[in-house]
Amino acid sequence: MTVDLAVGIGGLRLANPVMPASGTFAEGLDKAVDFDRLGAFVTKTITRELRTGNPLPRVVERPGGLINSIGIPSKGVPYFLAHTLPYYGRFRPPLVVSISAPTAEGFASLAAELTRPGIAAIEANISCPNIEEDGKAFAMRAASTEAVVRQLRAATSLPLWVKLTPNTGDLPEVARAAEAAGADALVVANTILAMAIDLQTFRPSLGSVMGGLSGPAVKPIVLRQVFQCAQAVDIPVIGCGGISTAEDAIEYLLAGASAVQVGTATFVQPAAMTTIIDGIGRFCEKRDIARVADLIGAVVTEEADQPDLAWVAPAE
């Protein structure tokens, strides 16, 4: 049987539910992966201004993952429009552009400028520090999330994806705030704030002291967060956290994700995304599942029939 891998994300139809996570994808991957096979492209986060990024070292490995503090190096909007946008125009998958700004107004003006042909959706990376909120990330709180998403919504007619941070006390509440403000989809989640210390030098392993943990180590945590968010909102949720196999991706779909983003796994196996696409197809085929969309939210949580354990009095 032919399995229909297509999924819908807030008005956008993807050929399959697998796409890269922002920050782990660039033109160089074309050497190892046929770009036309991906569900979508998601660019590295761009900012209006030029940014060089954080001091080195920028990455440290830990069992089952890595901690990064790359710091959003960005060549700015003019470079993006002149080079990156035409490059991705040669391929079939829709282009999702990840953006970041230090203020809600900055987010809005960047989104407005990028609302143009060739760009299929905006992914707002609101996990970065908000200078109006004392450096706290927008997505840490429902109120600041709602404020920035509302401005973004007014600024662009493109599908608006909002990437949330796992480093907040009440993620479902933040998710609902993003939905109420007009988000078309949520990406759950960014990296988990983490740290490592070098025992040779007693110094932090990363140049910026703290960084974001990603990789298989975070998968059970983010899977739970995707499940919670999918319960809390009606808009699609895109799962992103430690996915390195088709089985991981299917777990996310079952938990309620409409699509998945693959990041750190690509650093270890460059063809991880296409391997996952193939694996999802094989899984569905084996189980006679005609459409991958049928897996979305299909986790069974109602109580299974329990054997009757009522104590039976022994016969006298």
Partner: protein, 295 residues
């Protein structure tokens, strides 16, 4: 299938995006030029007190590797350790006819400790070829290769490539002790002259190496510099390259994660057009113009 339409998406914006599944464009002709494959290990043995020689059977894509390029090796886990990322390893040798790639590595951490455990017949996941290699102009008559430590391994494939072009090579190889010098026989086997300098003999200082290089320049045997493994010796060559208008290339090292220019963790500062700019060692290099490199 039914497509969800959120409220805010009520206006038709179909003209703004292409649904990939409905794209009528014919598929483009794509072939992979970087492959991750599980190659059979043919050899993995110590060559001296510090370095080990690894030979792996590879496919046709990997066998196209050139001098200066590198591979990312997925190292097995030694007991009690879990290296997560691949380890970048410069190409020590390649034989397209036999479909073999070679590496020379020093055991320094969890990854290389795992690598040292592999036996011939085992499989090793190698990914490559990666990065920009040395640009060896066939018109060059005589070049100089200057290396130290692990840089000797990186320069090794130059000997064969230069010989194929009919380019003569003089190599200056530096190490802490004579027994740690690697690639010397390999270079000599390809007809290169090798001058060795070591810390233990007191011959490896920059001033002494500079005297040797000035002698080679005077003899017309230094049309280009190729270097790897020592910031001090790189600075000597930069000074001489400026003084005598000699072209040069340097292979740089940096901690890496992805190897394909995706993650931006391996950036270094380079001096380009009067400005200091960041470049990715894995993607823009690892071989760079000698005059742009900063220690």
């Amino acid at each position: 299938m039914a497509i969800e339409q959120s409220v805010s998406m009520a206006t038709a914006k179909d003209s703004f995006f292409i649904a990939a599944a409905d794209d009528a464009r014919p598929p483009r002709d794509w072939t992979e030029t970087v492959v991750a494959e599980r190659g059979e290990v043919l050899l993995n043995q110590a060559v001296n007190a510090e370095y080990r020689h690894l030979v792996v059977r590879c496919g046709p894509v990997a066998a196209k590797a050139v001098a200066g390029q590198f591979f990312q090796l997925l190292c097995p886990h030694p007991e009690g350790e879990q290296p997560f990322l691949r380890r970048p390893m410069s190409l020590y040798g390649v034989d397209p006819a036999k479909s073999e790639v070679e590496f020379l590595y020093k055991v320094t951490g969890a990854g290389t400790r795992g690598l040292a455990l592999i036996a011939p017949g085992d499989r090793l996941d190698i990914m490559g070829p990666l990065g920009k290699g040395f640009d060896l102009d066939p018109g060059l008559r005589h070049i100089v290769a200057v290396g130290r430590g692990a840089g000797l391994a990186t320069l090794a494939p130059l000997a064969k490539a230069a010989r194929a072009n009919g380019t003569r090579v003089t190599a200056i190889f530096s190490a802490r002790r004579p027994d740690l010098l690697v690639s010397v026989d390999l270079f000599r086997g390809h007809g290169a002259e090798v001058i060795t300098v070591t810390d233990s003999q007191g011959t490896s200082g920059p001033a002494h190496v500079e005297r040797i290089l000035r002698g080679l320049i005077a003899d017309g045997r230094a049309e280009a510099f190729f270097t790897c493994g020592s910031s001090r010796l790189m600075r000597v060559q930069q000074r001489l390259a400026r003084e005598f208008a000699i072209a040069g290339q340097v292979a740089m090292e940096q901690q890496m994660a992805c190897g394909l220019g995706l993650c931006f963790c391996c950036v270094r500062d380079f001096h380009v057009g009067g400005e200091i700019v960041h470049r990715r060692v894995c993607w823009d290099g690892p071989v760079f113009d000698l005059m742009e490199a900063l220690p």
